[in-house]
Amino acid sequence: MDLNGSQMVIEALRRENVSVVFGYPGGAIMNVYDEVYKQNYFEHILTRHEQAAIHAADGYARASGDVGVAFVTSGPGFTNAVTGLANAYIDSIPMVVISGQVPISMIGTDAFQEIDAVGISRPCVKHNYLVKDAKDLPRILKEAFYIARSGRPGPVHVDIPKDVTAQVAKFSYPEKITMRTYKPTYKGNSRQIKKVVDAIANSNRPILYVGGGAVNSGASELVREFAKMTGIPAVETLMARGVLGDKNPLLMGMVGMHGCYSANMAMSEADLMIAFGPRFDDRVTGKLSEFAKHAKVIHVDIDPSSIGKIVDIDFPIVGDLKNVLIDMMPLAKDKIDSNKYQAWRDLLQRYDEIHPLEYSDDKGNIKPQWVIQRVGETLGEKAIISTDVGQHQMWTAQFYPFDRPRQFITSGGLGTMGFGFPAAIGVKKAKPEKISINITGDGSILMNIQELMTAYESKIPVINIILNNGYLGMVRQWQTFFYDKRYASTDLSNAQPDFVKLAESFGGLGFRVETKEEFDRALNEAVKSNVVCMIDVNVDRLEDVLPMVPAGGTLYNMILEYKG
């Protein structure tokens, strides 16, 4: 079958079962868009900014577990997409992003809308391609999807010059693919697994340190089962929220800078750390020389470079967590006695009782934590919660009752403000039966506010809940704690849009909320409305995210209360 390059793109997407593409057209990718117009295999969502297209594809991927796909044009179209690529890369999200490029003959001439796209994307993606001949395109696209979803997932960028999208060549799409130079390890070493089970059986204070790898591997059920069977308490990273389930008695909560006291104490006092797919981020470990000082460390990860990168590992296992757990389970059943850890569990329980995760509610002001708890009580499992970045993100991680993986969609590693709204658009396309909520701040929401138009036009009823404190709150909090209250460029209270009118002007619904009753009414109406909504909640301006481990501090020495 002979096809031109653009038709090949469409055909490849069809074979990869892509049902939705997010994107923005432009000169260099017009040939591809001409074929998008002619096809009806997938839906194309026109975002209003390329960054949003990538975040939407990312949100789609996080919610569904499938590969997210986006199209952008060359030059500024591509450079706008870079933040989205970097964001997906550091969080290991599978995506294929196709960008237009100037024709091959013009590459290197500083042509109109030319930029060295693969040169820019190289450190922001798992792999990238500049396609020089249409005959290579079927193989490259097949590889792109394969690389994106296999091993440790990640974004793949394919840059296609305009003449290649017009060039006709033979199209034969490989059914299967094997790459000589890329072979992820899925099965853990069985001798090592045996050793690990023995180490666990010999430990007295083991802790499961569960990271985003557990979500990517689809191992949540097995992690829950393993925890239950062995009676080993667990902590979740930001990326793993929902893996163990909110009501799980073994879950000590989130770990790290804004983690629970009991979770951080568990990490500090454990004699064995069992790391299931985390990456020992500095926001989790704090000061390295004090991190898990008393513990031997087991690390299961599909990416060998993740193991031993930050912390010396006593028992490394390279493999897919799901497979490793399947192999571990029968051995663990024989050798590990959950009663052995009763005293350890009791101790952690006591830590939690001494310093539970809490806030002091207030009759007058709405506390931001209350809003999140309220959304949780009202919508619970029916909602998928995206966030932007800042205080609201941490409060959501702390206070929303996440019951399953892929329910919390957040920019973890890169910390990208402006991620939440477009991601929530992607979430709704992936899971139309769920309510897609974006919990955001008055700072973050303005970073991709133009997506109100996308949500309106494409009938994607995302509910944005703005925890409006008139500050860039997280930076303000650091200024309070560490900069003697010099609030440099963080007070937004003097210049804010009218978010209600703003939403309305884009065809959506806006609500201003000053009281708890108003919030309940607004949320209820927003859920029923089936149109994009903004709920602008006036929250307590000076609320801080607590507890907190200062950057570079030790996990066992948290700020539990701020005494100005």
């Binding site: 190289r122 450190p123 792999h127 500049l130 690389i147 130079t181 890329y182 031993g308 990168k309």
Partner: protein, 163 residues
């Protein structure tokens, strides 16, 4: 103690990296080193005969953890086929040195012999000598040759073969 040692001692290491011979592969590798703050003491690249691979010989240094990460990060690049880091290498580096003809060449011949050297070229008022030896001995040679007041010196970077 173990942890401290692992972090501190700087070690020199020769890596032989086999990669698919394709566009941009060198920039992936040099970008990896630059982006993650790793050292490159020398780097040579050439196609592996009768294959579609290239071999890079990279001389780098760092503490144990950094070297471990370098190897893992190189492996992680999609076009990387193999990273050879251990075992025994035959390592050779070449150097070219231009010496003016008005020098007294007493002893030069013996020195060239000791470093697998020869006269590679000559002109009306200069000769170019060439030596091939391991990197440490090339350092020594370049020190020793200074007494002939060379006007130019070029070294190639190491190539290595595992044996």
């Amino acid at each position: 103690m173990m942890r401290a040692n692992k972090q501190k001692t700087e070690i020199r290491r020769v890596l032989s990296v086999i990669v698919t011979n394709e566009d941009g592969v060198l920039s992936r590798i040099s970008g990896l080193f630059a982006g993650r703050g790793y050292n490159i003491d020398s780097l040579t690249v050439a196609p592996v005969p009768e294959t579609d691979f290239s071999r890079l010989t990279i001389v780098t240094c760092g503490n144990e953890r950094v070297l471990e990460q370098i190897v893992k990060q190189l492996h992680k690049l999609i076009p990387t086929y193999k990273v050879i880091e251990s075992g025994e290498f035959v390592e050779k580096e070449m150097a070219l040195v231009k010496i003016p003809l008005n020098e007294d060449f007493n002893g030069l011949d013996a020195m060239l012999k000791a470093y697998n050297g020869t006269i590679a070229n000559s002109g009306a008022d200069f000769i170019v000598v060439m030596v091939a030896d391991n990197a440490k001995r090339i350092d020594n040679f370049l020190q020793a040759i200074k007494k002939y007041n060379p006007t130019d010196m070029v070294r190639s970077g190491s190539v290595a073969m595992d044996v």
